[in-house]
Amino acid sequence: MRCLTGTACARSMRAPAHEPSIEQARSAVMTVAEIDRTILAVWRIEQPRLLTGLSRMLRDVPLAEDLAQETLVAALEHWPMSGVPEKPGAWLMAVAKRRALDHLRRRKMLAEKHDVIARDMAQEQQAMPDLESALDDDIGDEWLRLIFTACHPLLSREARAALALRMICGLTTEEIARAFLVPEATVAQRIVRAKRTLSESGLAYETPRGEQLLERLASVLKVVYLIFNEGYTAARGEDWLRPQLCNEALRMGRVLTQIAPQEGEAHGLLALMELNASRAAARTDRAGDPILLMDQNRARWDQLQIRRGMLALSRARELGGAGFYVLQAAIVACHAQARKPEETDWRRIAGLYADLAGLVASPVIELNRAVAVAMAEGPGAGLAMVDRLTHEPVLKTYHLLPCVRGDLLQRLGRHEEARAAFEAAAALAGNQREQQLMRRRAAEAGAAMSSWPAAESSTPQR
């Protein structure tokens, strides 16, 4: 029988009694790897509670993070020998608390030396027993404070993402590095620097209120969205941790809607992520090539995730949400609700893009609106909009502009112009897979051109 608590595994690989050694244990590669995976899994589950508990005790997030990491190291050292304890959460909490108390004691001694009034140790001690039950009652506020700290606007975008993944999702530095395709040392340095910035800034460890809350929440949502997109645009064949970022972001989104349930945009972002992720299984073919939204097998869309996305969207709407994420989620919801491509409500999508354009002036949004208008009113109307965008500086190197243009020209039967547009798109496309797709479409346009007019009747004009 497989051992659940790890005791039997540990017994089979226990180091000689006189000198238990991790190095010796590591020679049993598979078993140790298995135990390490178990430890990391337990760690990810327990880590938010540890971190919030330590932050509350120490009122210092960077220090709490250090001690939480030390606790993980202690588990990685001890558990391969002793087996995973029956209550791993309690074990980790006890070790973490002991370290925090040691730290407070040292700090107090130091403070007394300098004749500064230190916090009363007895009072600290007394506060300890409450800690866990208080956390169990409501981890929410504490967690929110932590997330606000990790995503503080003082930090760079990359640092925020790294800290969030580490402190909220419990990812290791190595995992974060692999997910973002950067060297581990880079991530380690980002984290160290970010923690130093936080320590030196003397930020109050508190939940922002009022207008500041909205501003700070926007910063948090942006980090989550960034992490999601990093995973969403990852290509197949790369490290599995990249697509995994989508799940980490989704989890953060769910956490946010649980601990900040009154924030419409948080529900909106969650809805957007759930609905986009619901198409994960349908987005590529067996060879890993992308499948366009309109060509996807909708039976492969994850209905559980769509239901969750729709629920989040309706909560966002109930809360009066009509911001950046809510509108985007509403657009994706139009697709999610269409059982067949031809049932898509393009008029509604075009309207939502117009709302979005009113909120954020962006040529990319205009381009998307043009696509929706073309679907609702015909390729001619869309093309007129796209042609107005060709001189936008932001879109000069954006391959989707000529791609959309090519598509509309093709549908209008202007095959030669379509081929030129797809070729321009191939030249601009960032990754090989998209280049290939654009070249294929250019070739198709070329073929349609040579067999014209016979091919035109087979190209329905929508």
Partner: protein
């Protein structure tokens, strides 16, 4: 990865102790807040259910209880997790609560991964994804 944890027991159905209920609720609350648990539910005893079977080429309906059933499903939970290790760790924690708060109860928590068609998450060429 999505997992379903299914709790089965061969013992006659007994209501959980209040302590167990409280502990399990606390765990579920934590898992919902952590964004890992998507759904969960308990099932009524088999005496209230039925089975529709195919045997010898015939479909038949049998009302519960089913004398020959050994293990009966009592409840389930659906999780979205990193890996099987997380699913197992959560199942161990869940079962520890049973051991502690409902002495004498015996049963199994089975952890099963959802079958997913090649989940790879490649970007479709979709302008919307980047808007």
């Amino acid at each position: 990865m999505r997992f379903m944890s299914i709790v089965t027991s061969s013992q006659p159905p007994a209501p959980p102790t209040p302590q167990l209920l409280e502990a399990v609720h606390k765990l579920a609350d934590r898992e919902i807040k952590a964004g890992r648990m998507l759904d969960s539910g308990g099932l009524m005893p088999v005496s209230t259910g039925a089975q529709v079977r195919i045997a010898d080429g015939k479909v038949s309906v049998i009302d519960g209880p089913f004398v020959e059933s050994k293990e009966m499903i009592g409840g389930y939970a659906i999780f979205e997790l990193r890996d099987k290790e997380e699913a197992v760790a959560l199942a161990v924690e869940f079962m520890q609560l049973h051991k502690e708060h409902m002495p004498g109860w015996e049963g199994t928590c089975e952890v099963r991964a959802y079958a997913m068609p090649h989940w790879d998450g490649v970007c479709e060429v979709d302008a919307r994804a980047r808007a």
